[in-house]
Subunit: 158 residues, 2 copies
Amino acid sequence: MQHSASITYSISELAQEFDITARALRFYEDKGLLTPSRQGQTRVFSATDRARLRLILRGKRVGFSLDEIREMIDLESMNSGNSGNSGNSGSPLAYQLSLKRFQTRIEALRQQREDIDDAIAELETGCAWMETRIADLEPSEELKSRARAFEALARARL
Amino acid sequence: MQHSASITYSISELAQEFDITARALRFYEDKGLLTPSRQGQTRVFSATDRARLRLILRGKRVGFSLDEIREMIDLESMNSGNSGNSGNSGSPLAYQLSLKRFQTRIEALRQQREDIDDAIAELETGCAWMETRIADLEPSEELKSRARAFEALARARL
DNA sequence: ATTTTCCTTGACGTTAACGTCAACGTCATA
DNA sequence: TATGACGTTGACGTTAACGTCAAGGAAAAT
């Protein structure tokens, strides 16, 4: 159904685009976060692999561990996956387990949002204070440029 | 100026309150994040130590490393510190360095906020999906409670 | 007096998430 | 043909942030 000429990426292409190393990509594959196809021995990443990588990196930025990210990805792929059974556990107990974990993580994320707002506020007051310190202690850029202009003039007079 | 009977905390009190281990507190001291006073050999934590610990844990939750947190704390203490000089570097170059770092961190935090919102959204759809799965696969709680009621009735008949 | 309980300082172990290096294949190009 | 550029798989190294003993001091309860 999919015409054969889809966009693909080499490992270093993806690495460069997302500013990570090839080692990291191989590591994510080892951990089951990515499953690129092979052409011979060489990895070939598809557009969906790329999208998944996006998810991974976003997950990392918000503090998820790779194991947690894998769990999320697994459920995502089951979600949008085929309608039938694909050999997974599928037990409602497992769902309830994951559900609990997800819900607590959502709570943690809300808390984290507040913490981030607080941290931003603190860092901003810190920045403001440092700016006043710099302005107090340092001969201002204006003075410096005047000094340079004066030097130039003096050299010209010689 | 401070009346001598201030509130103090033992290491395990603080550990219990913030749900961390005493080892972590000692570790933070080793790293220069906390500087509790001593009574003999035993650590005695003040209210300001407690507040600082709050800052540390909040910093950790938003993804700061302990080194970064120490940098922030150092500047905070210089900020609200004494008016004179306290043997610190105080060079404007150092300030500009830290200022840059703080500003980039603020940018990262804003990005992080967006990422968190996205992650919350995704996790919520994940939860919703799992809830439908559970509802589909599991005999509902309503059925369960009806079964319990029936059992109770049956026992009463005996 | 002795047993708990809480504290201390080392010192080594652990986990996550890669970094780094070695040794090797393979293709395009000079 | 040989010389890079890019890819592969191990295997070991590294850093952060503690965990986990071991060995012992001091105070409080039995």
